[in-house]
């Protein structure tokens, strides 16, 4: 993939998460109103006290990482479980807002593929033999 395309995807995803992260604190733009199960779900998360501040700080920091191009794989893996929940919320609770969700999923998957070398060792079935539980003899793995 051309470096320019990767950079564009990274910066676009960075803008989305920085904007929603900062919006959580500064209320720059209104979010769609909620009702029913979705309001109940979000209300429960608000009741926890810690969840939304943590979420918006995470958005802002990972967004800044993506924008600056530093710690990009780490930002992607931190955002991964959050994106899973964004998708589930839109599938199960809030049918509106699909275009932005699809954009975010597309950009994240594209970037994860582009940076796949960084994730490869994490996805190996046998971490054991090579790294942790057997003494390293000449770098041999099971």
């Amino acid at each position: 993939m051309k470096p320019g395309v990767t950079a564009a995807a990274r910066i676009l995803l960075g803008i989305v998460f920085s904007a929603f992260g900062l919006n959580g604190f500064l209320h720059l733009f209104p979010l769609p109103s909620m009702d029913g199960k979705e309001a109940q779900f979000i209300g429960g998360l608000v009741a926890s006290g810690y969840f939304f501040p943590l979420l918006f700080v995470t958005y802002t920091i990972t967004g800044a990482a993506l924008l600056s191009g530093r710690f990009v794989p780490l930002a992607l893996i931190v955002l991964a479980p959050i994106i899973v929940n964004i998708v589930c919320i839109h599938v199960f609770l809030a049918p509106s807002g699909y275009p932005l969700t699809l954009l975010v999923v597309g950009l994240a998957l594209f970037l994860a593929w582009d940076y796949r070398d960084a994730f490869r060792p994490v996805l190996r079935a046998h971490g054991d033999g090579a790294w942790a539980e057997t003494p390293r003899v000449g770098g041999a793995s099971r």
Partner: protein, 147 residues
């Protein structure tokens, strides 16, 4: 790294998540909850998807740890769940219930350290992409040098 300590920590952490994950479906143990914790879990249950996804993930990650396969992946998947377990226990549960979360956090951090080689490339600030991204650059630079 002491290999037996790593295996012991892996199996203990696997057991904890496997058992608590199954408990999410079978309810053989119910911890007493504060009103704010009840409101929190009520909200999670209202989502419809989150509770099965959460406990299903815990069962799967617990099994991976017990089997010793995909251990770094299991640790990475459990990390954000663990952040919320700690957040939940600090903000919503009585301090006396902090024992298990602290044990789990300790096991997770110890195992992440044992498996740090797997996480190292992912944690770098600057990543050189060995695939396509740098190839057009290299190709373009060769004729320029020849000229």
């Amino acid at each position: 790294m002491n290999s037996k300590a790593a295996a012991f920590a892996r199996i203990l952490l696997g057991l904890v998540f496997f058992v608590f994950g199954l408990n999410g479906f079978l309810h053989f143990y119910q911890a007493p909850m504060s009103p704010s914790a009840v409101a929190f879990f009520g909200g999670l249950a209202a989502s419809g998807y989150l509770v099965p996804v959460l406990f299903g993930t815990q069962v799967a990650a617990g099994l991976a740890l017990l089997a010793g396969r995909f251990v770094p992946l299991a640790l990475a998947v459990l990390a954000p769940i663990l952040v919320n377990i700690i957040g939940f226990h600090v903000f919503l549960a009585p301090p006396s219930a902090l024992g298990v979360p602290i044990l789990v956090l300790g096991l997770e951090l110890f195992l992440v350290w044992c498996y740090r080689e797997a996480f190292r490339p992912m944690l770098r600030a600057r990543v050189e992409m060995a695939h396509e991204p740098d190839q057009p650059v290299r190709r373009a630079s060769v004729p320029a040098a020849a000229r």
